[in-house]
């Protein structure tokens, strides 16, 4: 039962909850994506949900961590013929397969980005938390999309676990080995022996299981994740309070 799952979950004091929905969603499987024929995973990836929340509210001071997602509607797909435009002119023809009538409830919280010690003065948990909650109430600060740019999505406040979903009593469903997310250089927690961040670009994979409609995501630092470093020691953008970043105290929210 989903209620048992909900009871086992611990909400953090800086947790946010929201519902995101859209007519279509496309969380493309990297294996088919590189060929140009995109096929969606059955469920959203960690990274896609993190991206949605970053569109709602984000500052370099903190990192969003997605705790769980609840799949509300039955997983359905719809294939479409697509005419992608090539960079060197002309067009291609492809088949993309989208998820239909996607609706998800998401539980997430934020953690300070330790790779940016210069932003310590901006770490006002209460204020960030309240801005984030207000932003959710307004539907987000930037465009929301479910996985791929053409899949417009909409964000609303909700209580995680509220309402009935298709998979509430479904039991366990295993989606196999799938993509979890990317550790971008500015958020990658990996450090060398001297404690200096390595600024690597990592990709993470995991074995995804959904129980009664709820997927509990392992945290990006979890040791159960399969991790591969693709690029080492990358550049990261610098943020300096007052120069190219407004301190949270003077941030006006979105009123």
């Amino acid at each position: 039962m989903k209620d048992e799952m909900l009871e086992a979950m611990i909400k953090k004091r800086n947790s946010v909850e929201f519902e995101v929905y859209g007519k279509y969603a496309l969380f493309s499987d990297p294996i088919t994506r590189v060929g140009g024929e995109k096929f969606s995973y059955q469920v959203p990836t960690y990274q896609a949900l993190k991206g949605i929340l970053e569109s709602v509210y984000w500052k370099p001071t903190f990192i969003w961590v997605i705790d769980a997602v609840r799949v509300m509607n039955k997983i359905q797909t719809e294939g479409k013929g697509i005419r992608p435009i090539k960079m060197n002119g002309g067009n291609d023809l492809s088949y993309y397969t989208y998820l239909k009538e996607a609706r998800y409830q998401v539980l997430a919280h934020f953690e300070w980005n330790e790779n940016r010690p210069g932003l310590q003065n901006d770490r006002n948990e209460n204020k960030h938390h309240n801005i984030a909650k207000r932003s959710i109430g307004k539907g987000g600060r930037r465009d929301i999309f479910l996985g791929t740019r053409e899949c417009q999505g909409y964000v609303e406040h909700c209580e995680f676990g509220r309402g009935s979903g298709f998979y509430d009593d479904y039991g366990e469903l295993n989606f196999g080995f799938m993509f979890h997310g990317i550790d971008y250089p500015d958020e990658n927690p990996t450090k060398n022996e001297e404690g200096i961040p390595l600024r690597n670009f990592d990709v993470r994979f995991y074995n995804c299981t959904m129980k009664d409609g709820i997927i509990l995501f392992p945290a990006p630092s979890d040791s159960s994740l399969k991790r591969r470093t693709v690029f080492e020691n990358q550049q990261m953008k610098e943020f300096v309070i007052g120069q190219n970043l407004l301190p949270v105290e003077t941030e006006g929210g979105d009123e």
Partner: protein, 650 residues
Amino acid sequence: MGLFQNLLETYEKCSEAVGIVQVDADGNANEKKTLLPIGHMTFKSQICVTIDEDGVFVRASRDNKETTIIAPCTEISAGRSSGIAAHSLCDQLDYVGDINEGKIAAYLSQLNSWKGNIPELNAIYTYVSGKTMMDDLLNSRIFKESEYQTKTDEHGESQLDKEKIRKLGVRFIVQMTDNMVKVWESTELRNAWIDNMSSNSTFNEEAFDYLSGEVVHQVAAQHPKNINSLTGNAKLLSCNDTSGFTFRGRFAKQNDAVIVDYIQSQKMHQMLRWLIANYGYAADSQVIVTWGVDRDTEVKAKVQDNSLDFFENMEEVKTKADILSGTKGGIYADYADKLKNLLQGFGNAKDIKQHFCKICIAVFDAATTGRMGLVFYQELPKNTYLENIVNWHSDTSYFLTAWKKERDEHGKDKNTPIHYIGAPSFDDIVFAVYGKSHGDKSYEILKKNTRKQLLECMFGNFAFPKNMVEMAANRASNPMGFMDLNGKFSENDWKRALSITCALTRKFYKQQKEEIPLELDTDRTNRDYLFGRLLSVADKLESAALYKADKQNTRPTNATKLMSAFRVKPHSTWGILYDQLIPYRNQLNGAGYYQSLIDNILVLFEEGDYEDNSPLSPLYLLGYAAQNRAFLKNNNNEKTEGTDNGYITE
């Protein structure tokens, strides 16, 4: 799980069947239908060379026709076109004969790298490196005259035309002390090659395979093509876009974007290729494949079939009573009901959990020649899969007729009609909606799109499309549009389309939460239904009069001719039709029975409905067909014998 993971799992479960050659009904081996071992491919060979275990030539023979064998290959040789890339054991004369220096060297060095202490391989190595094969073959006189050059040299002897024989495939038999080893069939040699492949770990240990998460032995640089033989060049996976931006931007190189292990890729592709070759359901570039992730991958319940075929495929129900052929009285077997009962029994038996089996449905299509995409994929537990199908079969059921090919007592083919209540097949629906094929490509495209739509509809992803019902109803309302090859009205086709359309209409209304019974509902006051009934009575009245005058089936009735107009303007057309019936009514001495029936129907109309001249919805066809059936039934009761013309409606 995803498609790829399920294919890998299926391959593991089918490991016993790997490499075992399937034999066709005519007794010939069919390698295309054989589940190939990884790192192997089918190879066409014509020359068989026998050597002894010391690598000494014994004899050579040549087949009349190319023999397809299963031979080991490397990743590069499997996709070779030009350039040098040798197969690992059996290859063309170009590589094993002494024709091309570079190629024979490539072949030998590759064989050397894996022959180890295996005596058969060492014998072949010794023989091929001796470079005597061409002479041995010449002495064995296996070449055809046309393969010699027309010019003769100074000794009056003709030389071989090497261009013509280069591509001949060679296979080896090694004569050991106690037996003859056909190297292409030897399981030990196959395993030796696979072991050799797995031991070649060339990549760093941090990388993992994106398909399975397992360690990587060798990164697949290219993936196999020819997965679906109808779109032979299309690859399911590809990653070679160096100019566009499918992965460039975030990633620079192919290996940054995705890593697939060669062995896992092989397993996945061999499995998929085998599934498509054996169970694929193809239209144009599209192929639908359904399989169970189990030891026995064949799924007997085929989604695309009509209820009758579907039933015959389910062994559990194949009892004598169920198969009704050539029945006289038009006895209908309600397959959907039977199936439902069967499933309920199945569900109670508690063995569903034990025999838990996953069923995968995948549809592939290629928008361009080079790539194929997965356009539909669903994985269901077996019972859910069957439930979905049963729901479809019961919601879409109607009185249908199928024609079974049988042999009569004189050994001639004859078509026997079988009446059943059930769902039409996918292709029947295509016929009702779009008509018959004229052999052009656009029809194939319509067909594949409809198949996919129906599949999505069957597994709950879509409501049954209204446009299909409307189109089928438009076609069925225009009986004069159904013509046979001679341009004459084809009643057979029309009645077939009509009953399929009725099935679709029932499905459509069912989904609007309106259940319309199969038999005539004399209480239904719906306007469309009643007008349909009126049309049927007019039709019956006229044909009864024609029958009396012994002119039955000489021409279509007025009601049939006016049907399309009737649909668009029911009220005014009914006036015309009613007037046209006057002479027939007179012939039948006033036709009291039909007249009272018409009056009874007219009474049922609600206020203003009868005068409403707006077009009828597809529902009127159900009224029409149900009234027709009611007449047929009365007929049968009176005569206590049925018509055996095989039609549902008369």
